[in-house]
């Protein structure tokens, strides 16, 4: 009886870890699980960390499903970074690919890890290609239901960027 209980416990633990720590699946399977993302307007706070240096900023954020993201940084400087800017293009393309479930693009460029617990989900993208790997460790997108709550970008040269969103649907 004890043996059976032990086996059951091991089985339960395996299942939990598989869900909690994510499983490496192909992009198509994962894309099917990602909820449909909606257009949203939010406020955001950003923390960029590199070694001992920490830079904080914040402002307004907009996600337009078919086009991408727009950040209006309000402090410490004012600037608008739209999806058309060449400086944001690469990360914007990744977010768009997730939103559009463009798994050909995702599969070509990233190894994906997707986890889901109740309404909360997390997608971790690890670059496959050397050209991306040399500059980007990973991109993590956390969400609940159809919203993105957090984006964490871990770069090779520019440290880590954590962006938190406080959203109200459009």
């Amino acid at each position: 009886m004890k043996k059976i209980l032990l086996i059951l416990l091991v089985l339960c633990f395996s299942l939990n870890t598989a869900t909690a720590f994510g499983s490496k699946k192909n992009a198509k399977e994962i894309a099917e699980q990602i909820p449909e993302l909606k257009n949203v307007s939010c406020t955001f706070t950003q923390k960029k960390t590199r070694g001992d240096i920490e830079l904080n900023s914040g402002g307004n954020f907009q996600f337009i499903k078919d086009k991408g993201v727009v950040f209006e940084t309000m402090y410490p400087i004012h600037m608008i970074t739209g999806y058309e800017s060449p400086r944001t293009k690469h990360i914007n393309d990744i977010i768009l690919a997730v939103a559009k479930k463009d798994y050909t693009y995702l599969d070509k460029n990233f190894d994906l890890n997707f986890t889901k617990l109740d309404d909360r989900w997390q997608l971790v993208l690890n670059p496959k290609k050397d050209v991306i790997k040399k500059h980007l460790h990973s991109v993590t997108i956390d969400g609940s239901k159809e919203d993105i709550d957090r984006i964490f970008i871990d770069t090779v040269n520019s440290g880590q960027t954590e962006i938190l969103f406080e959203c109200g649907k459009n």
Binding site: K28, A31, E32, F44, Q46, K48, R50, L55, S57, D66, K67, V69, F71, T73, P76, I77, M79, T81, E84, P86, R87, T88, K89, H90, I91, N92, D93, L96, A97, K100, K101, D102, Y103, T104, Y105, D107, K108, N109, K129, D130, V131, K134, H135, L136, I153, T155, N157, S158, T161, I163
Partner: protein, 710 residues
């Protein structure tokens, strides 16, 4: 004597065949070669740039479906010899890194030239705070993020791997290129495109549509459709000629010498053209099929006059004058084409003249021998088709034709756009339109060809041109590899910035105040294979400009040539059309002089008038039907003269029986051209329509203007 001439004829034919087949001429399929002279080879190179490229556009309601289909297409495309156009980004980025000391984006270089360091620093801070921004180098290596700025500004707007949203639909674009070996062989290329089309059809399902665009796709559809149509027309025409001859001569054997003479004429025409030109244009073959129509006249003329009581030699004696004058006038018309500056017209002239002379000699020398073997039973010769019009009817028809001609002349419009010669299917047009919209391709593209003593001089010129372009978007090698002069200048600007602005920000990051040393970035095929397409020669490159409308500023720069391919080709077509139209006048004068010398001036007017009026009537009819006059309509006028003058000469000279030959000849030719006018290829249908109208009207006019008694 005649036997000697026969042996000489065979000897000459075999000698021509030997030399022509020893070094066979290539077949030229590029339609632009018909109007673009060799000295304008840049224009041909530009138009050939996209000849092996094929674009695949996948459309769907849901992005997942599009992505899925793109995935399948990519996997299957590899099996079909399609190689995707890709760039080894990692390798290139490493090369750029090594030379980063001389690389600045256009905007940053401008700021540094103005010593606007404040703005440069503001930009750096913006890049640091940019939530989605990142640095390609450690901050110590690139404190102002100038390298990241340079690289980020290099890219295009569309990521080749991503899905595009357009008009509530989702798209993926895949770009492919065929291997050069395949691209250079039209047969191989068509075979490969056929496989891709099969793939397209198999993946276009469940709400997903796969579109194919690009030159190879157009070539495939145009050539497959033309092949079906030409084969069908060939069969229908052959059946028509067979039935006509059977009806008239009651013997099938009569077709054997006719076919033999035409085959002999066509082969000699080919041999002579192959010996005189390095490559024969495919349109020369198309136009030269009209040789059949002209040369069949001689054969019909002979067989109609060959009665039981006459031997072959007597028949030749009777018709010798008519045949010779007809040959002379046709040769004169085509000889003028030889002196034009258009290679296609010169080839047509050589092909047709040698072909016609051969058929003429074949009829004169060999028909008397051959006809001994054919029993025509033409014992009771009588005219079958002897059309005659009363003076009143003649007057009415002439007035009607004059009204059509004159009124139509007011509506005559010309169109020299070479694209109007070919009308693709609706589906292909739609695919091209959607592709251009989704890919954001600006239809107003122009080119600058830049030449210099060495590549560095070329790059410097390109950079100078770039400064004149304002906000115009462009593609050029210098965008990816600046000249060494610019790299030196950038290095100096960067060094000055570093020295002046060793700010707390940079010191905090322990940044070096020296611009990194490193080799200058230089072009090599191994490192930058994707830039090879910009080269038209070792020291000759290409700049592609989008939506640029001030070419005059570029045209003044020595060593550069500005091209707007569509406009330039249209101008060349126009030049060719005008030159051809101008040649029509000397052709008529020459023919009149010839005919006047043979038949007296007043009779020459009667003979030449039907052809002249047929040309005018056809032009008027085109105007009345709002069909825009193009180069090929004008070329067709020469063929009308070549054909129709024979009708008048035979009618003027001939015995009554010859009228049957003229009628049969007109009917066979007009019927063949009528079928051609129904084809989908605009160029061929233009020719077919004009020749049908021209031949029928000239035949009717010859009946009206040359009365029976003549």
């Amino acid at each position: 004597m005649k036997n000697f001439l026969r042996i000489l004829f065979i000897g000459l034919f075999l000698t021509l065949a030997f030399f022509a087949l020893k070094n066979p001429a290539k077949t030229e399929t590029n339609i632009l070669r018909t109007v673009v002279p060799q000295k304008q080879s840049n224009l041909l190179d530009l138009s050939n740039m996209y000849s092996a490229k094929i674009n695949v556009l996948i459309e769907g309601e849901e992005p997942e479906e599009v992505s899925d289909t793109a995935d399948k297409f990519e996997k299957l495309a590899v099996q079909n010899n399609l190689k995707s156009i890709s760039v080894d980004g990692n390798k290139i980025l490493e090369l750029y890194k090594k030379s980063r000391g001389g690389l600045l984006s256009k905007d940053t270089a401008k700021l540094l030239e103005k010593n606007d360091y404040k703005k440069v620093k503001e930009n750096t801070i913006e890049m640091i705070y940019n939530p989605l921004g990142f640095s390609l180098l450690e901050p110590e290596e690139d404190p102002f993020l100038l390298f990241t700025d340079y690289i980020m500004n290099l890219g295009d707007n569309i990521n080749p791997d991503s899905i595009i949203n357009h008009n509530d639909k989702y798209y993926r674009i895949l770009n492919y290129e065929f291997d050069k070996n395949i691209a250079l062989s039209p047969a191989l290329l068509n075979k490969q495109v056929k496989k891709i089309i099969k793939l397209q059809k198999s993946l276009s399902k469940n709400g997903v549509e796969v579109y194919l665009t690009g030159t190879p796709v157009h070539s495939y559809y145009a050539s497959s459709r033309s092949m079906i149509e030409i084969n069908l027309i060939g069969i229908i025409s052959a059946v028509f000629v067979l039935l006509l001859c059977l009806n008239y001569f009651k013997k099938v054997q009569v077709l054997i010498p006719i076919a033999g003479s035409i085959l002999c004429g066509a082969l000699t025409g080919y041999f002579a053209t192959a010996l005189m030109f390095p490559a024969i244009h495919v349109l020369t073959f198309v136009f030269s099929t009209t040789l059949i129509g002209i040369s069949v006249d001689y054969s019909l003329h002979y067989f109609v006059c060959k009665t039981e009581d006459k031997n072959g030699e007597d028949v030749i004696k009777d018709i010798f004058r008519s045949l010779s004058v007809s040959l002379l006038t046709t040769i004169s018309a085509f000889l003028v084409l030889y002196f034009s500056h258009t290679e296609l017209l010169r080839q047509i002239a050589v092909f047709t003249i040698t072909g016609l002379v051969t058929v003429y000699l074949f009829v004169v020398l060999f028909y008397p021998l051959i006809s001994q073997k054919i029993d025509l039973n033409n014992s009771t010769p009588q005219v079958r088709w002897n059309f005659a019009f009363s003076p009143e009817k003649t007057k009415k028809i002439l007035i009607a034709m004059a009204i059509i001609t004159l009124s139509g002349m007011f509506f005559v419009k010309t169109n020299d756009d070479i694209r109007s010669m070919y009308k693709p299917s609706k589906k292909l047009v739609e695919a091209e339109k959607t592709f251009a919209e989704v890919a954001g391709i600006n239809p107003k593209t122009s080119f600058v060809v830049v030449e210099g003593k060495n590549l560095q001089e070329v790059l410097e010129k390109e950079e100078h041109i770039a400064t004149l372009l304002g906000n115009t978007k462009y593609q050029a090698i210098s965008r990816y590899i600046p000249s060494i002069k610019t790299q030196q200048k950038n290095r100096a600007l960067m060094q000055k910035l570093y020295e002046t602005e060793i700010s707390p920000y940079t010191t905090a990051l322990s940044a070096s105040s020296k611009v990194p040393a490193g080799d200058y970035l230089e072009f090599s095929k191994e490192n930058f294979p994707f830039l090879e397409n910009f080269f038209l020669g070792a020291n000759k490159t290409l700049m592609i400009l989008y939506d640029f409308d001030n070419p005059d500023v570029i045209k003044q720069i020595p060593g550069t040539e500005y091209y707007n391919v569509r406009e330039d080709i249209s101008n060349l077509v126009k030049e060719c059309r005008v030159n051809c139209a101008k040649l029509l006048i000397p052709v008529f004068i020459l023919l009149y002089a010839l005919l006047a010398a043979i038949y007296k001036p007043e009779n020459a007017v009667k003979i030449i008038l039907p052809s002249l009026c047929a040309c005018l009537f056809t032009t008027g009819l085109l105007g009345l039907l709002h069909i825009e006059l193009n180069l090929f309509h004008v070329i067709a006028m020469f063929l009308i003269i070549g054909f129709s003058l024979d009708y008048s000469i035979f009618r003027f000279n001939g015995e009554k029986l010859v009228r049957d030959a003229v009628f049969m000849s007109c009917m066979t030719s007009a019927f063949s051209f009528f079928l051609l006018s129904l084809t989908g290829f605009k160029l061929i249908s233009s020719l077919g329509f004009v020749l049908t109208t021209g031949l029928l009207s000239s035949y009717i006019l010859s009946l009206l203007l040359i009365p029976k008694e003549e």
